[in-house]
């Protein structure tokens, strides 16, 4: 237990808010975003079940979005909050809040809109591609009228020979109302621009997805570059003898499968997956070693992660 000092608990897996491990879903998402960007589409709608990792995935990939030439494109992320009154000003206000810009909180809608336009134009000029990406999360909380804000932004930038690409993100179940509203003829322009292309975000839904993430644990190091890998950190001897966490992907997935059928869910929500895995490493793998690893341990971790009490079971 010599490692159980302060440095042991400094490991990133103990700080979930800062813990970032690339998933296969993120890779797929990035490919989808690039497909849209590179084919000149104005935007798309990404939806999926709650807690599946949409927001995390978008936040993780937002700085990796590239033009075809490999140049990184600036992306602005904003998340829409629920409000008593759904006003257009609120959308501008929220977008500006996420930009980090300083602005007068009592400014008019027009002033906020102009500030946002100026900011998007400025971002788009950062690269020679004159393109800026806007990621709008929790879109199910907006009305079609509020979504028109993004059409206006798109048009304004277009007037200046710049390109705005808007990716809407929302919960599948809660977006039904919005999507049905958008089916109306009066909302055709919004629908045609941003909702023609719809993608379901699947999260962790196969053994390959699990294996992809476990491989990251075998690769990622703490401290970065000089330290041991995550797996090595918690099972040094076995790791040096050839053990890799990815070898457990089958048993982990199979154990989850029993719960999946019981809970009637198609994918393992990322939050609960990482919660279970990050319990597994210090509480079981570290203590009992890889040789003594059993599916019961995984079951215990899954149950401790809170999956069984998740809101959508």
């Amino acid at each position: 237990m010599s490692k159980l000092g302060t440095s042991f608990y400094d490991h990133p897996i103990f700080t979930p808010q800062a813990f970032r491990v690339p998933t296969r879903a993120e890779k797929i998402l990035l490919d989808q975003l690039h497909d849209h960007l590179w084919t000149g589409k104005p935007g798309a709608f990404f939806h999926g079940p709650p807690r599946i990792g949409k927001t995390t995935a978008f936040l993780n990939v937002r700085d990796s979005i590239q033009a075809r030439s490999g140049v990184h494109l600036p992306a602005l992320y904003t998340s829409m909050p629920p409000r008593d009154k759904n006003t257009i000003r609120e959308v501008h206000y929220k977008c500006l809040t996420h930009t980090g810009l300083s602005f007068n909180r009592r400014a008019t809608c027009n002033e906020l809109a102009n500030t946002l336009v100026a900011h998007l134009i400025e971002l788009s000029h950062l690269t020679e591609h004159k393109t800026v990406i806007l990621i709008v999360d929790e879109i199910q909380r907006l009305t079609p009228k509020q979504i028109e804000v993004f059409s206006e932004l798109y048009d304004t930038l277009y007037e200046h020979n710049l390109r705005l690409c808007v990716f809407m993100v929302g919960n599948s179940s809660s977006s039904h109302l919005l999507l049905s509203d958008l089916e109306l003829n009066c909302n055709e322009s919004i629908r045609g621009r941003f909702f023609t292309e719809q993608h379901k975000f699947k999260g962790i839904h196969s053994k390959q997805d699990v294996e992809f993430i476990l491989k990251q644990y075998d690769k990622l190091r703490y401290p970065e570059e000089t330290g041991p890998t995550y797996t090595e950190f918690f099972s040094e001897k076995e790791f040096n003898n050839g053990f890799r966490l990815a070898q457990l992907s089958s048993i982990i997935w199979d154990t989850f499968n029993t719960y999946r059928k019981q809970l009637k869910i198609s994918s393992w929500p990322a939050q609960y997956f990482f919660s279970a895995l990050n319990l597994l490493l210090p509480d079981y793998l570290y203590k009992y070693g890889a040789k003594n690893f059993e599916s019961d341990m995984i079951s215990a971790c899954i149950e401790a992660s809170g999956l069984l009490h998740a809101p959508y079971q």
């Binding site: 810009l101 300083s102 007068n104 500030t115 400025e122 971002l123 000029h125």
Partner: protein, 545 residues
């Protein structure tokens, strides 16, 4: 790429235009952040505390420079002109004012017309009659021209501005920058007169003949033949008119002490630091100097009585003198250059680092005229009578003054910019701030219809001399062509004797000076009788041997 998380304001850097000033940047910041009020800016910049407008500007500058790291060259340019934040004293043309563009070049006192729009640079907005640059008024939306505009309208104006041709402004800036490059001006004052110069503070103007009226003494073979009866053949062959060819041996001392040029070796007891040549001038040449100095001095005295104070002062006291003009400065420089001591002429060594006003663009310029004058042909050269030399020397000295003045007049603002090295001229800015437009002694430019008029004080130079077209000024600055001064004959005629007039007419008036290298032989042949008469009056030409 700049991290988005670092962004606190929209910089609008992508709308930046060449040579813009801080005023221009601030107007852009205000337009690109329309949700911030004037008060909001102050609070935001000063940690939610109210502050003065001046402090707000300073904080805004710092913030902008911090954020503008993505464009280092842009940042560099702004930092260079950071002292150019004018408040309430802006000069703008109405078009630039509407677009919110201002260049530091507009603030030059001699520039009266916008090089971009060819409209007058005014200190007041035509629409509201308020001074440009009043930020509080700017936020009140009172004036559609100089007030805060909607973003889309501002962007359209900026795009239109971006389509303007900035070439003229850029060229002017480029030339002005050349003049602004570091140069060390060292002057000799009366108190140093007897000590000549030390190596550290000597004046190094390179000697020249080609840049002065005496260049006319180059003759061509045909002319030589025509003038042969009046010239004494000199055995040594020279093809160039250079100082090198005129160095004396100790034995070259005339019996007549008034006609004596004596070379002093550089390592003499008076100035061991100097390793050039010091030549003791004949009395006539000293008198020629005094006449030239007196003439310029009298002209300046007519313009304003403070002329004297400057050149008689110590360097330290010059810094405190107020209300002096470029002509006085030029006079001081010129006077100091001449008076190594009253009776000698210093030839500096051929060392570029020590040349007076030596830097790119004005290499070896201004120059000092050689006192001894020879008639040079392609085959040989001849010494001329000493009184003729004195006359030519005086003319050359006057022209030398104009060269110095040209330098000062074109560079005074830039010299002020680098004032730690050239503090002596710092008071010029003060002078220009207080001087009234009609006051004599003010150098100015007037740019309209692509013509840049002015450049010399009205009172000193005839009107015809001051009319220069903008491209010509640029061309002149590029080439630093001193012969430009010859274009006006009146300059040289004023105050001369009738004999001098006659000679000047021969030299300048009836000749296309710019083509003198080509047209001389023809000129001399066609004016042979006049030249002969002139030379006859002065007596026979003596032999140098």
């Amino acid at each position: 790429m700049r991290p988005i998380s670092d962004t606190v304001i929209n910089t609008g850097y992508w709308l930046s235009q060449p040579l813009e000033s801080w005023y221009s940047v601030m107007i852009r910041l205000f337009h690109c952040n329309p949700s911030l009020t004037f008060y909001g800016w102050k609070m935001f910049l000063n940690d939610n505390k109210a502050c003065s407008t001046e402090k707000m500007f300073d904080l805004l500058k710092d913030l902008y420079l911090k954020q503008a790291e993505i464009l280092p060259e842009h940042k560099q340019e702004l930092e260079r002109h950071s002292h150019q934040i004018p408040n309430g004293k802006l000069k703008l043309c109405q078009e630039c004012g509407n677009a919110g563009y201002h260049s530091y070049l507009f603030q030059f006192p001699w520039l009266h017309t916008c090089p971009l729009h060819s409209k007058p640079l005014e200190s007041l907005c035509i629409e509201c009659n308020r001074p440009w640059g009043n930020c509080e008024e700017f936020f009140k939306h009172h004036c559609q021209a100089c007030g805060l505009k909607p973003l889309d309208e501002y962007l359209v104006l900026q795009y239109n501005l971006g389509r303007q041709d900035f070439t003229g402004l850029l060229t002017l800036s480029e030339q002005v920058d050349k003049l602004a490059k570091s140069s060390v001006l060292w002057f000799c004052w009366d108190q140093y007169e007897d000590l000549v110069f030390t190596r550290e503070n000597k004046v190094n103007m390179r000697p020249s003949d080609e840049d002065f009226a005496s260049v006319m003494l180059h003759l061509y073979p045909k002319a030589t033949i025509a003038l042969e009866p009046y010239l004494t053949y000199q055995a040594t062959t020279h093809k160039q008119w250079l100082v090198k060819s005129t160095q004396w041996q100790p034995s070259d001392i005339y019996e007549d002490c008034t006609n004596r040029y004596t070379r002093t070796l550089s390592h003499n007891h008076l100035c061991p630091e100097i390793y050039g040549h010091i030549i003791q001038l004949p009395q006539q040449m000293v008198l020629a100097r005094q006449k030239a100095i007196k003439r310029v001095h009298e002209l300046l005295s007519e313009i304003h009585p403070k002329t004297h104070s400057l050149h008689r002062s110590d360097i330290s006291s010059i810094m405190s003198i107020e209300s002096d003009c470029p002509l006085c400065i030029a006079f001081s420089c010129w006077y100091s250059i001449l008076l190594v001591d009253n009776h000698s002429w210093y030839i500096p060594p051929d060392d570029p680092e020590q040349n007076f006003l030596y830097f790119d663009g004005i290499k070896n310029y201004p120059k000092t005229p050689t006192p001894c004058k020879y008639l040079a042909t392609e085959e040989s050269y001849y010494e001329t009578p000493i009184d003729f030399q004195a006359f030519m020397y005086e003319i050359d000295l006057l022209q030398c003054f104009l060269q110095v003045y040209e330098y000062i007049a074109t560079s005074y603002v830039q010299v002020i910019k680098s004032y730690p090295r050239t503090v002596y001229i710092a008071d010029l800015e003060n002078y220009l701030t207080h001087v009234k437009p009609s006051q004599d002694g003010q150098a100015y430019f007037q740019l309209h219809n692509h013509c840049l008029d002015g450049y010399f004080p009205n009172s000193y130079l005839p009107e015809s001399f001051t009319l220069k077209k903008f491209p010509e000024i640029i061309e002149m600055l590029k080439k630093n062509n001193p012969h430009f001064f010859y274009m006006n004959k009146e300059l040289y005629r004023d105050g001369l004797t009738s004999v001098q007039y006659q000679m000047l007419d021969l030299l300048f008036v009836h000749n296309q000076f710019r083509n003198h290298y080509v047209a001389y032989s023809h000129f001399l042949e066609s004016n042979f009788e006049k030249i002969r008469a002139f030379l006859s009056r002065k007596g026979k030409i003596t032999n140098t041997c």
